[in-house]
């Protein structure tokens, strides 16, 4: 990676955040009218966010992705399906724990609900969900199963459980399921999925390469809902 890459990424991130930034500035001028010293702190935070995001993405590309891809290829070359599945399970778990979006969502849940929620338990349930469904997704790619075999029963079960459970648990489950596929997890899972699909090479790339994230995001929904069912009404 060169400095040029870094600058381009910084520019693109700033550009992609531009609508949100413009919206904030408009709100500040039109109706919010925070003291400008306070707004200065917000601006500093925005600077942190943009620079931090770029450093994170570039660092992940440079450090984490080559590691992940190398390991994925090595499993397939050695035809080690079972170790690959174990790796997929554990990777799903640790990626959820590491996902910045999961941290920030559970931080907000805790800020609003206070002691009524157990942040650690939520993260653990979501992590186990992503781990087990990463295994399902890897099996799907390896054997070429159609994706709706996993998606349709998964979502039917999820909405069935949602009808039984309290509002707080349902919102937490679907929000968490959606955010486990964040900036940390997405590149890792895509790299793994596309790598495996390219080695197997016997199916439509449109079908095999995509869908890992889709299956991965049902897992946390189901596990958080099941955990709510086991825990009982609050």
């Amino acid at each position: 990676m060169s400095f040029g890459d870094f600058r381009r990424e910084l520019f693109e991130t700033a550009l992609s955040l531009a609508p949100a930034l413009a919206f904030m500035l408009f709100a500040q001028v039109a109706f919010l009218r925070l003291p400008w010293s306070e707004f200065g702190l917000v601006a500093l935070g925005l600077g942190f966010t943009v620079v931090g995001f770029v450093l994170f993405i570039q660092g992940a590309k440079l450090g984490l992705l080559p590691l992940g891809q190398g390991i994925g290829t090595a499993f397939i070359e050695r035809r080690a399906l079972r170790p690959l599945l174990v790796f997929g399970l554990l990777l799903g778990v640790v990626l959820t724990v590491a996902e910045p979006d999961v941290r920030l969502l559970t931080f907000q849940i805790e800020a609003v609900f206070g002691d009524a929620v157990d942040r650690t338990a939520l993260i653990v349930a979501a992590a186990l969900g992503l781990g087990t469904f990463a295994v399902v997704a890897l099996l799907r790619i390896t054997y070429g199963w159609p994706i709706h075999w996993a998606l349709i029963p998964g979502y039917l079960l999820a909405i069935g459980l949602a009808l039984l459970l309290d509002e707080a648990t349902v919102t937490q489950a679907f929000d968490l399921g959606a955010v486990t596929t964040g900036p940390m997890t997405v590149p890792f899972l895509i790299a793994l999925g596309v790598g495996i699909a390219s080695v197997l090479g016997n199916q439509s790339r449109m079908r095999a390469g995509f869908g890992l994230m889709a299956i991965g995001s049902i897992g946390p929904v189901l596990l958080v809902l099941l955990w709510g069912l086991v825990r009982g009404a609050p």
Binding site: L46, L62, A74, F174
Partner: protein, 239 residues
Amino acid sequence: MSDLVALLWTATVEVIEATVPVLLLIAVFQFIVLRRPVQQPRTVAIGIGMAMLGFVLFVAGAKLSLIPMGLAIGEALAGVPVVAMVAVAFVLGAAVALAEPAVRILAFEIDEVSSGSLRKRLIAVVIALGVGVAVVLAVLRIVHDLPLVAILVPGYLLAIGLTLATPRDMVPAAYDAGAVATGPVAVNFVLPLTTGMALALGGDRAEALGFGVVGIIALGPIITMLALSLALRRRESDG
């Protein structure tokens, strides 16, 4: 100033807690299970250092800026007429979808893999449309105090129906579109905004009402992408 230091320190501790398990897992498989040396260990080490520093700044920055601004704007929006709320929600949702880095990546990949028959701009617009409608539904849910299942159950049943009707090739990409639309901007700006709005409007279930928006955002693009693929197929068979 000392607040800022404390914020950065908390973020640092959190990031170390989060990344150490990933690194340990990779190390175990790399050196003990697969017994492979790391290629270009220096570059990899620098990359990991950069990613961790970036993570710290990102978490601290979001807590300092995006989250409080979202809350404040949401509170202010609670006072405007519903029509204005809906208009702002749609524009904001669409803008947020276009802002998500992962949406750009997915649109680019679909363009590539479909050999250009699905243009990336079309994909991005269809995803943005889905997210815009989703945020509107989330706002209406807050205003009318509806349970989340009132949106999710019909929504997912519609998605399942479309899945069965649509060409198989498009299904994985459509569901991935839902997964990528819920990135850092949705979580750290739209969610605080709806939470602020729900808390300002009050009511018995105000805490829970603001949440759920991320789950609704994940559903929107799935439906619009599946609808797109159905529409394209119909046009093909007509022509």
